[in-house]
């Protein structure tokens, strides 16, 4: 007899406590309101578009009115013989990028930070950003020319040294190297920005104390700078793992050709080609959903591991 009332009473006190909490931190919640509203309106309201992958889209009936086909689109996708090769190519290329291309901006940022000459620092900093602004279509074109076995500069140098010219883009084995190297060149400079910002936040008194203790610059770098930017590096790493399925359409498309296709076909170019051939309407969405799920799993795993190792995670 008394229980229902006390249950309600418990709920009421919980509510009151919650409201009191909110009022106490009202400004914080107020500040958060625009963010939440934004995500709901611009991300969650259109989210039903994900359903296209589960439907046979009919233009007249729209997304919600189209016929439900369950996993049929996924079955089609998994049934394509090239799918697994494309999956592996996308994954492997990204793993290479993570291992080789990811540390470079960090190292570069550390090195730039150690430069004392203001003019040299300013000029090199601005210079390394340039490749980021030139689109892959243009860079790819220039690169293909440079690597040409008959007319390219690189091979002319190789030939003058007495070796035979290498057909970089004509053989599968060089493709990944070219892709990763060109990525580094294009993106490393811009990638230093976030780490330089993190380094700027390190209090100079830490360096002063170390100098007085007789630490060399290398020692100061390893024992002060690195640990202080560790969180930023770990965070960017985890976020980078979150894009493990994406390789950038333009870069791959310009460097790709029939002979290196077995390693160069990644999801973006694959959906483009299948779409061009007149593939299913929802194919790109289906592939997109699949890669999103895989990427999310990778990110959550990376986040979990990093927390286990005592680092900060995204949560």
């Amino acid at each position: 007899m008394r229980e229902p009332r006390s249950f309600l009473a418990v709920q009421r006190t919980k509510c009151q406590r919650f409201l009191r909490y909110v009022l106490r931190h009202k400004y914080l919640y107020l500040l958060l309101v625009p963010c939440v509203v934004y995500f709901i309106v611009f991300h969650y309201v259109p989210m039903y578009g994900v359903l296209i992958s589960f439907k046979d889209f009919n233009f007249k009936k729209g997304i919600l009115g189209s016929e439900w086909v369950g996993f049929e689109n996924f079955e089609y996708m998994f049934g394509l013989s090239d799918f697994y090769r494309v999956f592996w190519n996308s994954l492997y290329l990204n793993i290479l990028r993570l291992l080789i291309a990811f540390p470079i901006p960090v190292i570069l940022a550390l090195m730039i930070n150690e430069i004392n000459n203001r003019y040299f620092k300013r000029i090199t900093q601005t210079a390394i950003y340039f490749p980021y602004f030139i689109s892959w279509a243009v860079i790819g074109g220039i690169l293909v020319n440079f690597l040409s076995p008959t007319w390219g500069v690189v091979n002319e140098m190789i030939k003058s040294l007495g070796f035979e010219s290498i057909f970089f883009l004509g053989e599968a084995k060089y493709f990944r190297g070219v892709a990763v190297a060109s990525s580094i060149w294009k993106e490393a400079g811009w990638g230093t920005i976030i780490y330089l910002a993190a380094i700027t936040g390190i209090g100079p008194e830490l360096y002063e104390a170390a100098t007085v203790d007789g630490a060399s610059r290398l020692q100061r770098l390893v024992h002060i700078t690195l640990p202080c930017i560790k969180t930023t590096v770990v965070l960017t790493f985890i976020l980078r793992v979150g894009s493990i399925m994406s390789n950038g359409f333009e870069q791959i498309f310009t460097l790709q050709n029939t002979m290196n296709l077995s390693v160069s076909e990644v999801f973006e170019t694959y959906t483009y080609r299948v779409g061009m051939l007149g593939g299913r309407f929802s194919f790109a969405t289906t592939v997109g959903l699949f890669t999103s799920v895989i990427s999310m799993i990778f990110l959550l795993t990376a986040n979990f591991l990093s927390k286990k190792l005592g680092e900060e995670g995204i949560w």
Partner: protein, 307 residues
Amino acid sequence: MLFAIRSRKSPDWQKRLQASRGDKVFSTINYVVVGLFALLCIFPLFYVLSYSLTPYEQYLKNPIRLIPTELSFAAYRQLWNFPLMWTGFRSTLFITIVGTAINIVLLCISAYPLSKKDLKGRNFVMGMILFTMFFNGGMIPNYYLVRSLHLINTYWSLILPGAISAYNLILMRNFVSAIPDSLEESAIIDGANELVILGKIIVPLSKPAIATFILFHAVGHWNAYFNSILYISDRKLWPLMLIVREMVVDSGANMVQQGVTAGAQELAQPFTLKMAIIVVTILPIICVYPFVQKYFMKGMLLGSVKG
């Protein structure tokens, strides 16, 4: 301590000597490597600049010359005379300035509450935000949304849908977390509420981070074009990047089998035009960057992070 170092025979002095020799080697390596990399990065810009000024025929004869033999401003003249270039520039300027301002304001006010780990509901909101990094509705539902908000054919359709970037939010939150709690606590003791803390402590101490994100967002807006394809039909509102892409449309598959336009006239070649366009679109950023760069200098926060 200092007196101890003065004595040349002391072990500290020896260590310092060794350290300074190591320093020199370290320093040289730094300068050389960074210098080489910078040269490698700047070289294509010379290439682009050079071929933007070279008539196409010269390019055909020699595609790897860094200094043009013949100068031709045809490409630049064509861009200057093209009215859409100017409206495009104006559009992009508006979108970049207003868009970045909105981005930064939203970033700052959202990162601060999210940096408080013990705030109830914080984890839920973080999860919600993270989810949107991976899943989104696609072109068609987004189009319906923008249309129902009556944003079609306005600049707002290019500014509002991307107003907060989850990626940047997470990074910003990380920077804000790094600000010592002691500062906040002493402000609370002085009677400040969270809004005051945000304005007087968090934002001033986050200058490097804010500068970073201003740069990221500004460049993002500057280079963006895809949304305007879907949402903007009025050519006079098209942003710069869209127009330049149009001018060098790789109309490979669009071309009619046999010759295209009867009446094609003296046009700078697509290749030369592409080069000129790259120069023109990078130029504003080069001009703006030096102003932002000072925020990345060491010792910016000197004197502020004292307990």
